[in-house]
Symmetry: C2
Subunit: 233 residues, 2 copies
């Protein structure tokens, strides 16, 4: 092999991926152990280990102690989707970003609020509805609940000119989050603000975040039918 200048765990990783791709090592089969590979590539075992760990994280191989490393039967088991701030997403696409606050309300949590956000009914919550525009056309409708107990000073913000996300990412850290996508029908309000029909399908993203055990915010983001969520494998 080429024992060229620097081996690099990256070169090893690519070579192994290549052999898997061209079926030199077939799905389900065991590949040589770290020691053997280290010898073949003229590298330290730690280097081979790093290459294999990254391949395992990518889902290309599965590793078990004492057993060894085998080529995964089900190649890419996960895809990563970028979820940037809407504002950046829109600007990155070359369009002009626009924002409009639709409503803002501080109120004691209704039973629905309580269930949705995860606080006790009656605690103060902040409810926001706003719309994000790309070149003046509706891009995303946002409906959000914020738990002021977990987001200090959020009640001082009016969110007239900037979306809550921009403030939250800088001021309300979280330690745990959950992201869900599904297809839905828009509510009457959503349909009106997105300028779509009531019966038109929409793509909904729902995100919840917690700071340790305390809920921070829950948001429903509604996109018109044309919206695409894409990832490269």
């Amino acid at each position: 092999m080429k024992s060229s200048a620097r081996s690099s765990f990256r070169a090893i990783k690519d070579e192994i991926a290549r052999r898997i791709g061209e079926r030199t090592w077939k799905p389900g089969s065991l590949i040589p152990g770290e020691e053997a590979l280290a010898a073949e590539f003229g590298a330290a075992r730690a280097t081979v280990n790093r290459a294999l760990q990254e391949l395992a994280r990518a889902g290309l191989v599965e590793r078990k102690r004492k057993v060894g490393t085998r080529v995964s039967m089900h190649p890419p088991r996960e895809a990563r989707f970028a979820i940037p701030l809407v504002a950046e997403e829109i600007r990155a696409s070359g369009a002009e970003y626009g924002y409009r606050l639709i409503s803002r309300a501080e109120r004691p949590a209704t039973p629905e609020d309580a269930a949705r956000l995860g606080v006790a009914a009656g605690e103060t919550v902040l409810h926001l509805a706003c719309i994000h525009l790309a070149d003046g056309r509706p891009y995303q409708f946002e409906d959000r609940l914020i738990n002021p107990a977990a987001a200090p000073r959020v009640l001082e913000q009016d969110f007239e000119t900037h979306g809550p996300n921009e403030w939250l990412v800088g001021s309300a850290p979280f330690s745990r989050g959950e992201f869900t996508f599904f297809a839905d029908l828009p509510s009457a309000e959503e349909a009106r603000h997105l300028a779509v029909e009531r019966h038109a399908p929409v793509l909904v993203g729902e995100r919840r975040t917690w700071l340790v055990a305390r809920p921070v915010t829950v948001v429903r983001m509604v996109h018109p039918r044309e919206h695409r969520l894409t990832s490269l494998l």
Copy 2:
């Protein structure tokens, strides 16, 4: 040192994440260098390095040579969604998996096929339609085109009892892929097989794979409205 039994890069990672989460280190600010952290945690620099690299990959911090490591302004910028084989996804949920082939056709590529799969019109393609069931209820409708030129022996398979995915993952490797999600309305055929109304929204996943420059397969996977695609951040 010590104090604790094993330091572990994981413990260091968690502790750093915790400090970021509770804003001991604020978004945008520099955190101590690897050397300093190594001293604080009583670990080797390599161990701290591993912890920081994982945090960087998760998007929590950004690192630059000579500059240092700073807390990311835009926390988790990406989410990873698992995309297992339908069969496993269904079994993992505790339901019984069912499969039915709806149609299978070898044909010269129509202009639509050619555009969708990325081959020249007139080349032979294999078209499949099938349905995946969970406890007897429709779970996913699958409409797939396969390029026999990139999947040797695919034409010998009848796919009567097993879905094309199970065969493909073991027999048709790919080097590049693309995954897209969006909301849509079902076609008449899709609505019939999924047992949903024509005007009910559905969640569509579309996946294309290539072996180097040659398209392997393109598939449209249609899920009823209830389907949720979830990821933890």
